[in-house]
């Protein structure tokens, strides 16, 4: 099976439509495409987030994502997948991460996208620093993200 894998760590924004098209154009063996876009949220309930700055570990970030992409391909019958993760400064409303999965059937596409997102949250070497009215601060890792990732090892 021809399952193209695209992984990019980049500062610039991405175009979800272009990535879907790149994965599915000219193919008639794909029945389901799932996309997940992670977006920088703005202030809520008092705290003012003006921006997020994403730091990453070049080299290792790509390697970790590749490892999980390969695992996704081994676990689900995918026709292709794309993972794009930005680094640098992003402001509310802007894209942070994109996962696209393509399969014959919807269940595989949904599960693989969730699997990849859960691992990106807990295992890919990226760190978010938020900057707001009260200054800068590193975002803390969330227990529920660890829990979400753990379900795939059951």
């Amino acid at each position: 099976m021809n399952a193209p894998v695209t992984i990019r760590i980049q500062q610039e924004d991405f175009d979800t439509a272009r990535e879907i098209a790149a994965l599915s154009r000219g193919r008639t063996d794909i029945g389901a495409v799932v996309t997940f876009s992670g977006i920088c949220r703005g202030p809520e309930g008092g705290d003012e987030i003006a921006s997020l700055t994403l730091e990453h570990y070049p080299g290792m970030a790509e390697a970790e994502i590749k490892r999980h992409a390969d695992e996704a391909l081994a676990r689900w019958p995918l026709q292709g997948l794309t993972v794009i993760h930005r680094f640098g400064r992003v402001t509310p409303g802007q894209n942070i991460v994109l996962v696209v999965t393509a399969s014959k059937h919807r269940q595989a596409a949904f599960e693989a996208a969730q699997f990849l997102m859960d691992y990106l949250k807990t295992s890919a070497p990226f760190w978010k620093q938020q900057e707001g009215a009260e200054g800068k601060g590193w975002v803390e890792a969330k227990t529920h993200d660890e829990d979400a990732a753990a379900r795939w090892t059951k």
Binding site: E55, M60, D145
Partner: protein
């Protein structure tokens, strides 16, 4: 051996990377954290809660008891918050 620091570990130590030459008695990642901690205040601050610190050897996640012999690049960082 090259050591890299990320996020608040980098900020606390005040540098992104350096080359170190620990003695042979420093066998594991945990040993290395102890050795670095003893180097000064900035290191002690960065590693004040060693259980929180994550490590990678040659760009792959490792546990604190991982042996560092033969490593080209060791990295220390807080829990990841990407995605």
């Amino acid at each position: 051996m090259k050591v890299k620091y990320f996020a608040w570990v980098r900020e606390r130590i005040g540098k992104a990377e350096e080359t170190i030459d620990p003695p042979a008695s420093v066998r594991t990642v945990d040993d290395l954290i102890g050795w670095l901690t003893a180097r000064g205040e900035t290191y002690a601050y960065a590693f004040e809660k060693p259980k929180v610190i994550r490590a990678a050897i040659d760009q792959a996640h490792v546990k604190p008891d991982a042996v560092i012999a033969g490593a080209r690049e060791i990295a220390f960082f807080p829990p990841m918050t990407g995605g």
